[in-house]
Amino acid sequence: MIIDITDKQYEEKMVVLMALHEVVDPELGINIVDLGLVYNIEIEESSKTISLEMTLSTPSCPLGGIITGHVKIAVEQAMPGFDTIVDLVWEPRWNYDRISEAGRAMLDS
């Protein structure tokens, strides 16, 4: 996921994105950002809410609850005072093309 530098909340979103690097896919051993699982980040200052749109590699992934739980912990540690809402979406469906160059390098190391 790439955050537009002209975005008004660029800095805050980058903090969230960096925090999400702490959440690692247990099988592949790389973080969910480089794996391409995070689709969108919205920060609502007035309601102190961070909404995340993300997916899983497959809808039947048995780790869904664990990963979303870890996402909440990582984001709320990085942005104290904010509530995190994780919305799992299946469209567009995740595929291997979503893995970043850094992710590919980590996978093949």
Binding site: P26, L63, G69, L107
Partner: protein, 418 residues
């Protein structure tokens, strides 16, 4: 949308299977050691029947049942139909297999063997019902099709086996017992084990290698060739039992296997993760070992024009001791640490370790080196009728199996310490 945690099966539907299979593997190795001399004789003898059934049921089938309880929800994207059935299945298999193996070992054709057979068939039927109900209404999913037809062939194999047991007491089959035994063995090998492993690996190999390669056409060819070959083999075996009737389905099944080899090769070629861990290396070694039983069979047919009893023993050992055991040993360390990690990791705490930290990668490699040495020695011992080689092979197999078993139990022990 809520996270799909409901797809995660209970650990008691999976882990007891892994533990029982690991222990069975040690017992198989021990029995191979104490009855090593039997492997130089005819394959139809009580000790070999007992060892083979413990190998196939206690080690291979129990492990596959446990793994399939974890994998079916992933393959079908559905919750397991029942989480109670796997617990009944486990109890039935745990009672039935020892009765069956004990009776074969002593060749006591009394109630114990029949009760054992009935319990095992009941366990298999219940497991198959759970798999079929889980995949109900799943469409356009070739991996699931492989799973379903493999379970059908498993039931066919078990029914033929039980019919043979009945025929020991009440002679009603028209032809030689050994002819039906070949059918029982071949359908079990190709219909159950091979088909199931191909189906599951068609999904797991691209998943583990992060390979974007997809070829439904190739998978369909593999599926239809394998099943067509098996149906012809079964019908021919019961009706004509001619040499041509064996060669035609064998050629069709071989086409299927060659296509599978091409499929796996393409998956690797398109993989993002080309660096293989110990578990995946073993999977590829197992796939290479799959060719050995067929090479043996082919050479024997070419040189002698018939299959000798010694070669049947070698062929069976090469299949179960090679392909099946090596793939199970490798995949254990791809699946078990993941399953255990899933149950020890808390949602509200970032984990300190990953599944790869729950096992020793070097142990996996050393277990395999020892096992491959034991396999080579044991197989050479059978082919050369050298009991010393068989004993060396069985001793090393016992070391590798015990190490593997300890490793599996240590991983599971992490659950107690959470």
């Amino acid at each position: 949308m809520m996270p799909p945690d409901e797809h995660r099966p209970l650990k008691r539907t999976i882990l007891p299977y892994y533990a029982a299979a690991a222990v069975s593997f040690v017992v198989v190795a021990l029995l191979c050691l104490v009855s090593g001399t039997e492997f130089t004789g005819h394959y139809f003898n009580p000790k070999l029947l007992a060892i083979t059934h413990l190998f196939i049921l206690g080690w291979g089938t129990i492990m596959i049942f446990g793994a399939s309880n974890q994998l079916m929800p992933v393959l079908t994207e559905r919750k397991l139909y029942s989480e109670l059935i796997p617990q009944y299945v486990f109890a039935l298999m745990l009672m039935g297999i020892p009765l069956l193996v004990y009776s074969f070992w002593n060749f006591t054709l009394t109630w114990t063997i029949y009760l054992g057979g009935i319990l095992v068939i009941a366990g298999m039927a219940l497991h198959a019902i759970n798999i079929f109900r889980t995949s109900k209404k799943v469409k356009d999913n070739i991996a699931t099709e492989f799973m379903l037809s493999a379970h059908l062939w498993l039931l066919v194999t078990a029914i033929i086996g039980f019919t043979l047991l009945v025929n020991f007491r009440i002679l009603f089959l028209s032809r030689d017992h050994l002819e039906y035994l070949k059918l029982h063995a071949t359908i079990g090998m190709a219909g159950w084990f091979l088909q199931l492993i191909i189906g599951v690996s068609s999904k797991l190999i691209p998943m583990f290698l992060i390979s974007g390669y997809e070829n439904k056409k190739c998978l369909n060819i593999i599926y239809y060739c394998l099943n067509l070959g098996l149906i012809i083999f079964l019908l021919e075996g019961f009706m004509n039992n001619s040499l041509m009737g064996k060669l035609i389905p064998s050629a069709i099944i071989m086409t299927s296997m060659v296509s599978y080899g091409i499929y796996v090769r393409q998956c690797y070629k398109h993989a993002i993760k080309k660096h293989l861990d110990a578990g995946m290396k073993q999977t590829f070694i197992a796939l290479a070992l799959l060719s050995i039983p067929f090479v043996l069979l082919f050479i024997n047919l070419l040189v002698k024009g018939e299959v000798s009893p010694k070669l049947v023993t070698a062929y069976g050992f090469a299949f179960f001791g090679g392909f099946i055991s090596v793939i199970i040993m490798g995949q254990t360390f791809k699946t078990l640490p993941f399953i255990v990690w899933m149950h020890i990791t808390k949602r509200d705490e970032l984990p300190e370790m990953l599944p790869k930290d729950l096992y020793h990668e070097k142990w996996v490699s050393w277990q395999m080196y020892i096992y491959l040495f034991s396999y080579t020695a044991f197989l050479s011992g059978i082919l050369l009728s050298q009991t010393k080689l068989i004993h060396i092979g069985a001793s090393c197999m016992l070391i590798a199996a015990s190490w593997y078993c300890v490793h599996v139990l240590l991983i599971m022990n992490k659950l107690r310490r959470k």
